[in-house]
Amino acid sequence: MKYVDEFRDGKVARNLARTIAAEVQPERRYHLMEFCGGHTHAISRYGLRDLLPPEVRFIHGPGCPVCVLPVGRIDSAIELARDHGAILCSYGDPLRVPASGRMSLLRAKAEGADIRMVYSSADALKIARENPDREVVFFAIGFETTTPPTAVALRQARAEGLKNFSVFVNHVLTPSAIQNILESPEVRELGTVPLDGFIGPSHVSTIIGSRPYEFFAEEFQKPVVIAGFEPLDVLQSVLMLVRQLNEGRAEVENQFSRAVTREGNLKAQALVAEIFELRDRFEWRGLGEVPYSALRIRDAYRDFDAEVRFELPYRSVPDHKACECGAILRGLKQPQECKVFGTVCTPDNPLGSCMVSAEGACAAYYTYGQFTKITAVAEAS
């Protein structure tokens, strides 16, 4: 078993799609939000929309960490490298996200700022060890999956007594974002975003477990199915959601049981709790300020907090006027509804964050959207 090919079998996919079509009730619509950008990517890449009956509609949520990073935070990262002379270590994806004044990390790098792409927080630590006379800052972004690796680096830096290493923390929390969407006027009062159920994040859930979603199922009466990333995982989860909705149930079910338990990864959770604490509020692109939706470094590790070390103030900056990322991230609009989609804004020259990473809805639509009739699921058979 390789845990990949087995979950891409085209024949099983078509059978599953047939079962879904047989079970949907024709008078009903099933609006399913896939919170996680990885699912958005899988849905587009494998042409799952075309396999499903028209009654099932996907709504793309804000689950791409690059997409939800607001302009002001990228500005601060650039400032660290350009004005404070630090070596800024960043994952690859944030490099092309547009910042203020037609800037981006990549452009700042071209203009001479010392910005380096790393694959892991451990690489940033290595750069700090190799450059003892320079300040090295790790630009930490991501959801609950990326936070434990940042915590490991912080613990290691302290153990080694590294004096020139700090972390600019932008780690955000999935449950707070889901709650923000469910409580938004678009969903609650206006009904402009009909939301019947959630395809729950896969890898985030390997860390936090399925338990945090029980609150949504109970409080908001929305079914949640934690789903793996492969095409069969997504299809099976859709069927599980359709069945819950048909039967009037709103429960948390776990399709991704090969990696997710109710409790999650307790070791990772304990480490994160030791090093991080909740922020009162944090700005998300598209959602605005969301209370208790992000993490910051605890006092015990304060010496390694770049925001403290460089007295970094936060300035909120509006998105580009033409960009609809905000509405897309809240499930209000689809990428094609943005006037500059595919013309002014492309993956090579992104105007907004949703066009940057492969998991952004605009990038997923742009890359796979034109070829919706060709499904990789069919190719795989």
């Binding site: 078993m1 960490p65 860390i207 990333f229 090969r258």
Partner: protein, 77 residues
């Protein structure tokens, strides 16, 4: 950014590191976040770290369920 992939642990190394096989390429990763990783285990790899172990019994059960869900259209849950 969120993408994480299943990889096979080929060899355990010192200091909670391990060699894994990523599509035929050997790579050194950090396994400190997962207790008791053994050679031959499959783990989910994300930004250079193993973030969880995959459970073969559960995976087989899911595959069996997938086949079942496909062959009996209309079958109740």
């Amino acid at each position: 950014m969120c993408l994480a992939i299943p990889v096979k642990v080929v060899e355990l190394l010192e200091a909670e590191q391990a060699l894994v096989d990523v599509g035929g390429v050997r790579k050194e990763v950090d396994v400190s976040l997962v207790d008791g990783v053994a050679e031959g285990d499959y783990v989910i790899l994300h930004v250079g770290f193993a973030i969880n172990r995959l459970d073969e019994t559960e995976a087989q059960r899911t595959l069996a369920m997938l086949r079942e869900m496909g062959v009996e259209p209309g079958a109740a849950a």
